[in-house]
Symmetry: C2
Subunit: 177 residues, 2 copies
């Protein structure tokens, strides 16, 4: 049997809609409603005058457990898992609180992904798969396989990776290979 090709899929910003959660919490706490469109081309400093507020959010118990699923992610990953070996690879070590919440979150929303295929790491430099889907160029730039950059407000000006604006575009890019 031909061995399936492997894909490393990031969580925050790819499977989980961390931008939506941050905007929701910001509105809840500061009564300022920003949209994803408002984020484009901006930095965290431009957007949130309350210094460190995003870091405070991600350090709050429950932040990662209650992240909304990125639109279309469940169906797309389920479909991809028929043809690819899927690994979820999350840079979770910086926020120790997130470890159990991320694992629980995956169990709730992606129960078809085995614990054997979940990796929580610091940097992703020793991850070796055929493909990597990630929103951070620090992860994509050092990756040896084929990269797909999932759109996020912080990567809008990057042009040296194939961009997917949503999960339909991820599927389309992988259908070309």
């Amino acid at each position: 049997m031909l061995k399936k090709k492997t894909i490393a899929i990031d969580m925050d910003g790819v499977l989980a809609d961390i931008e939506a959660q941050a905007l929701n919490w910001y509105e809840r706490d500061f009564h300022v409603k920003l949209t994803k469109a408002d984020l484009q081309g901006k930095t965290e400093m431009d957007l949130f005058p309350e210094k460190g507020i995003i870091r405070d959010f991600v350090l709050t118990k429950g932040f990662f457990l209650t992240l909304p699923v990125m639109e279309g992610a469940v169906e797309a990953v389920k479909s991809l898992s028929e043809h690819f070996e899927i690994y979820v690879v999350s840079a979770a070590m910086e926020f120790p609180l997130s470890l159990n919440e991320k694992l629980e979150w995956l169990g709730i929303h992606f129960p078809f992904i085995s614990w054997k295929n979940i990796i929580f790491c610091g940097d992703k430099s020793i991850i070796n798969t055929d493909y990597m889907i990630d929103d951070h160029i620090k992860n994509l730039d050092h990756f040896k396989g084929k990269t797909i950059m999932f759109h996020a407000f912080h990567n809008g000006s990057v042009t040296h990776h194939d961009r997917a604006n949503n999960w339909n575009e991820v599927i389309a890019l992988l259908n070309q290979v």
Copy 2:
């Protein structure tokens, strides 16, 4: 600057003396004193008539947090980290309780290892380093780099990986390269 070669180092049975902990807890609960020498060539079933007792131990809160450090491990890893980029790679996902305990344990005993260099995974098949030090052949057999098999009672009859009986022998093997 020449890039340092990378080593993936396992936790249980390599950095942490899980055999010692299991024997201590077994003596505490069943008043039977076994030594590491008693384990050689035996299976868990031979040694512990109480079916599933080891699984019960590892599922107990505190088991991983209180593991003794493997003799010589701290000094050896500290010394290796001068010449190699060290990654701690632990198959922690099977036991969710262990995630935070393992991270805390590393912080206590190996504070010089950055969170960026810690990986908790299911299987280790997508880990790509130059060397892997592990006691389980299921991890070593599929590894593409050079392997060092750390001695454990369950790998006593394995001959197709370089064996290190202790951390001094790990250092000796790595000095040859």
